[in-house]
Amino acid sequence: MTAPLLDIRGVTKTFRRHGAAPLRAVDDASLHIDAGECVALVGESGSGKSTLARIALQLVTPDSGEVLLEGTSLATLDASALRAARLAMQPVFQDPAAAFNPRRSVRAILRQALARLPGADASDPRLETLLERVELRPGVDYLDRYPHELSGGQRQRLALARAIATRPKVIIADEPLSGADVSIRAQLLNLMGDLQRESGVAYLLVTHDMLVARAFSHRVSVMYQGRIVEEGPTDVVLAAPRNAYTRKLIAAVQSLEPVGDVAITT
């Protein structure tokens, strides 16, 4: 049994707040992703799912528990090994407006990512290929633009381009579709699927929308008030949820099915 690609074991994180009780954002949460898989982390606001994603990305240090990448605990790595490990796990954030330095051009943004990869080619043609891979065509038209000149959907594509630039093994996407229009969401999902097929990258997809989880994940973990309350293969969990909260989430989505079938099956 091979070790999972990304293994988050029993992490807990409590935030101290001024003038309020400490907030236990994540409470003994565990999650694992195998190579080439897509795991959805579903929860509402305040569930701790974003904090868990940030712990995985090493942006937040957990109070207890550990995060293992390909069997090795990230806490035990030295500086240079840690830098390499970071390149293997890249983020895509929710708000395309704040996802890029407004003073950097598309070229500079992608160059910055590629520069971290030793020996990478960061020339314009290479950048154009990268842009075209996320269907920003023709790539050359986009190089000199600035993030605020792009539409929301284009910015998310750029975010994906930057994420795959370092050839990561897993992409951790925090609500990547929330800011996008319905028709763009489907485009982005198709793109994410293509990228997975081409490079075998795994996804941790953090979302509040069960519909997205149903559409795009192999396995789903449901998070509520900092704890993982249910997890398993997506179709199994959706067809026969065991936890009351999961049932509540599914019911909420069912009531918003745009057409036809009310039963939520894959």
Binding site: R54, L57, Q58, L59, L82, R83, R86, L87, M89, Q90, P91, F93, Q94, D95, A98, A99, F100, N101, P102, R103, R104, A108, Q112, A113, R116, H148, R162, T166
Partner: protein, 278 residues
């Protein structure tokens, strides 16, 4: 990284901003070329004292017979020098200190901010007078004192902006690429935080010019330079008999400080990160 393209166009749209910028450009020209037109020592006596404005002395002469216009022209250099150098020093110091406070947080932040507050609550003018009186006059000393008293304002703004920008997701995005923290602060956060700081910088120039004029009015600035404040202090005694000794330097100070303030306002509006994007 290039500055945003809309800045110049935006400045041009702001009428007051344009007028101020032009006036300041004019002052710079006077500072640079004035001495060429008025060659010779402005402190030298050129004619009878207390002459009314007009004729060969456009703005009259002072109590020692020196040409007021010549003194004003030379005074521009002092004012601009003190104003700009002091503002520059205050901005650089304040930005560095404020950025570190904002980025580091914790006890570093608290300590730095307490020190800044200490400097801010002190009665500025009295402190300036005391320091200069103790250390003796001298233009650089005056500059140093002004910078020392102005940096907390900049630090406060810089800190606020750094705090705001560091919350944005793109900082995390770069962090996930393994870029070291110090580099993130200087190459990602600072360029996005300095807008309001620069606007404040121009305001400090005006403030510094006023402070220098006040100090030289009291005779605490360097005695061997011609300063507008010094002329004012002379004019004080002859307020009604030789009104031109008070009015012209006063107008010069007023116009210059106003120009810098308006420019600062225009810049502040433009560089405000909350402004709608073009």
């Amino acid at each position: 990284m290039r500055p945003r393209r809309g800045v110049v166009q935006g400045l041009l749209r702001n009428g007051a901003g344009v007028a101020s910028a032009l006036f300041i450009a004019f002052l710079v020209l006077v500072a640079l070329f004035g001495p060429v037109i008025y060659s010779g020592d402005p402190l030298a006596i050129s004619d009878s004292p207390m002459l009314h404005p007009g004729g060969s002395h456009l703005l009259g002469t002072d109590d020692l017979g020196r040409d007021v216009l010549a003194e004003l022209v030379y005074g521009v250099r002092v004012s601009l020098f003190v104003g700009c150098v002091a503002a520059f020093a205050a901005t650089v110091m304040g930005t560095l200190v404020g950025a570190i406070a904002g980025y580091a947080g914790g006890w570093v932040d608290t300590t730095i901010m307490r020190i800044a507050e200490f400097f801010q609550v002190m009665p500025t003018f009295i402190l300036a007078v005391v320091i200069v009186a103790l250390l003796g006059p001298g233009l650089l000393r005056v500059v140093a004192v002004i910078a020392l008293l102005s940096w907390p304002q900049t630090a406060r703004i810089a800190r606020g902006e750094v705090l705001r920008v560091s919350q944005l997701d793109f900082v995390n995005g770069v962090r996930c690429l393994g870029v070291p923290e110090w580099r993130i602060l200087f190459r990602e956060i600072m360029p996005n935080a300095i807008g309001p700081v620069l606007a404040l910088g121009t305001l400090i120039v005006g403030y510094a010019i006023l402070l220098e004029a006040s100090l030289s009015f009291l005779g605490l600035s360097s005695p061997d330079v011609v300063s507008w404040g010094r002329i004012l202090s002379v004019g004080q005694r002859f307020l009604f008999s030789a009104w031109w000794l008070s009015v012209f330097p006063g107008l010069a100070i007023f116009a210059t400080v106003l120009a810098f303030n308006l420019l600062g306002d225009a810049l502040g509006d433009l560089l405000n990160p909350r402004r709608a994007r073009t």
